[in-house]
Amino acid sequence: MSEGIIYWLQQALNAFQLGSIYALIALGYTMVYGILTMINFAHGDVFMIGAFFCFLLSSLLGLSFIPTLLLTMLGTALLGVMIERLAYKPLRQAPKVSAIITALGVGMFLENFTLALAPYPKQVPLLLENVTWDVYGISISSIQIVIISLSLLLMLLLDYIVQRTSIGMAMRAISWDKTIVPLMGIPVDLIISITFAIGAGLAGAAGTMYALAYPVIDPYMGVMVGWKAFICAVVGGIGNIRGAMIGAFILGTVEIMVVAFLPSTFRDFVAFTLLMLLIMIRPYGILGKPRIQKV
């Protein structure tokens, strides 16, 4: 293959890896929004806590990759449910702004709590042996393969849960109409808790994979990534699960390709200009549908 094509394919692989991680986080934003029409700004920090769980489990307990991943997902899922029960549930009838401010507060609490315990950046031990293959001049690492395939698997699983199971049907029903659904005997609180558990669990998986790909972690790592994942969710059409995945792969691709073909200083400027143009053309996102709302 010619060098140009190899270079292009290598960058596409990089974009796919970045997009997978954005997608896992964006799903949490979009699921909570779909059900509660609330933007859970603490979600990026739940992702950060996921990376720290992964660090604790792997470096202190010496667990291997699969148990670390599962326990991290369980841990963040519990954290997600706890945040919902303690911070958001009491405000469900309050104005939307109160819930958003509370979410910001929870995020800052998580950041500063972690900062108090771990003020220095931490190196996460290598959970998987890294092997780099050379395929026709393209370097593919075992970690890239794990991240991409595991993310795709989790996304397919989520899509199955939401589209094909009774819990998923209840979730879709609540997002359709919150007042009628309880009259039909659907336990709304339980379904909301499950939604938070799934969203936060995915953030935990994203945190683990992030720590695998970018093994230096710190308490503020969730802020920028969280914002970007939120933007992915909005671009895809917030509230729409497939939209969030599409949005994430678009942002990942644009970010990598701008650096690949333009000076790297242009990255965020070009990426976000393109996203703003996209939003101007499709204000509700790629797969989003207009609906009346007040925030």
Binding site: E3, Y7, Q10, Q11, N14, Q17, L18, M108, E111, N112, L115, A116, P119, Y120, P121, Q123, L126, N130, T132, D134, S139, S141, I143, Y210, A213, Y214, P215, V216, D218, Y220, M221, V223, M224, V225, E255, I256, M257, V259, A260, P263, S264, T265, R267, D268
Partner: protein, 390 residues
């Protein structure tokens, strides 16, 4: 992004204020020296090293009877202020030290972010300020005239100096013809090091095949590294902070990049070894001092620091110790404790031999004449390679 002061920091500050309140005894017999350090915020490690070294320098000086001026002995009193690694709090700390505590001179802040605004205030109030670690040229330059500030000095070399030293090292010692540069465009020190490196390297006949940037907080460098890999340089210049170096070096390793990295003084943290997981083994960087080729002065400092604080002092500790040493030498040479007199004594120091080498000031500039050291990462240690000047 996160300008919320934690309750702990508030408590600390209020305790410090309380302590200051009761420090007014024996005002005639002490020389007050201010110290502004990064005890909280982004770089608590820097602040802790700096404070330890300063306290050690003061205790040593006091144990030999302090400093006598005109036959009258004075003890040194150190007034420590935390700037939380922020610009605004650095300004507040300088103002407080100058007007409230009435210090003779100030040492710190260490990071340029706080040192530049602090230097402005010190210059305006005609109070001597020595920054141990701020390598930004702006710290000692008057922004409006471009001439050196009168009252601001530093114990370290500057970023442009380091960029030039490293360019020469890469070209002449590593025999590299083509380099790639990757640096944080949102951070001033790496930016000016990268610019001066490129300029000098190309002047000396080398070629820059890739000049790539990233932004503070980035974690994914795959696009830049893929670009650098396809440009096939001999050496990659990476003037980045040690936590970024950890990420970049590991990703480069995975992307199949085999070329060596060369870094700046921002590499010199023992954390680098942990955060890079063996991927910077054999790589070089420039630093302010090397603890393994210590001169007798440095040896004494390193031993006594290690005994008191349980670790080998880093470059911030060494530079803070030298800043205090420079200040004490200046005070000893002075006929009074007038701030201007002390400043004039410092500006004419030519024979100071410190932990980080010989330091002298000339032609009214606050930037010292001194050399850098080149270090190599070997196992879990940094090993001295050579002394270097451009």
């Amino acid at each position: 992004m996160h300008k919320i002061i934690s309750p702990v920091a508030l408590l600390l500050v209020s305790i410090i204020f309380l302590l200051m309140g009761c420090g007014d005894k024996q005002q005639q017999d002490v020389i007050k020296v201010g110290l502004i350090v990064e005890l909280t915020g982004d770089m608590p490690g820097v602040g802790a090293s700096s404070k330890n070294a300063a306290q050690m320098a003061v205790a040593e000086q006091n144990s030999v009877g302090g400093i006598s001026i005109g036959g009258k002995p004075y003890q040194i009193e150190l007034v420590v202020e935390d700037n939380a690694s922020k610009a605004d709090q650095s300004v507040a700390a300088v103002n407080k030290l100058i007007t409230q505590d009435n210090v003779v001179a100030i040492v710190g802040p260490n990071a340029s972010l706080g040192a530049i605004p602090a230097a402005e205030i010190a210059e305006y109030n005609k109070t001597l300020l020595i920054t141990p670690w701020s390598t930004n040229p702006k710290t000692t330059l008057d922004i409006t005239t471009g001439k050196p500030k009168t009252f601001v000095f530093r114990a370290c070399y500057t970023d442009p100096f380091e960029g030039r030293v490293l360019a020469r090292f890469v070209l002449e010692k590593l025999k590299a013809k083509k380099v790639a540069v990757l640096y944080d465009v949102a951070s001033e020190a790496p930016k000016s090091q990268a610019d001066l490196f490129r300029l000098t390297f190309e002047e000396l006949g080398g070629k820059t095949v890739a000049f790539e940037t990233y932004t503070t907080g980035d974690r994914d460098f795959s696009a830049q590294l893929t670009k650098i890999k396809s440009a096939n340089p001999d050496v990659i210049f990476l003037p980045a902070y040690y936590n970024d170096v950890g990420l970049i070096a590991q990703q480069a390793h995975r992307a199949g990049i085999k070329q060596p990295f060369v870094g700046s003084d921002a590499w010199s943290s023992p954390e680098l070894i942990k955060l890079s997981d063996g991927t910077v083994e054999g790589d070089y960087f420039a630093n302010h001092y090397a603890s393994d080729i210590a001169t007798p002065t440095a040896k004494k400092f390193i031993d006594s620091y290690a005994k008191q604080f349980g670790n080998i002092p880093d470059d911030v500790a060494a530079l803070t110790y030298d800043s205090m040493g420079l200040l004490f030498s200046a005070i000893k040479k002075s006929t009074s404790l007038d701030r201007k007199v002390v400043r004039d004594s410092l500006a004419t120091i030519v024979d100071f031999s410190g932990v980080t080498g010989d330091i002298k000031f000339s032609s009214g500039s606050g930037d010292p004449v001194k050399s850098a050291v080149i270090m190599q990462v070997k196992g879990d240690k940094f090993v001295w390679v050579m002394n270097a000047a451009p």
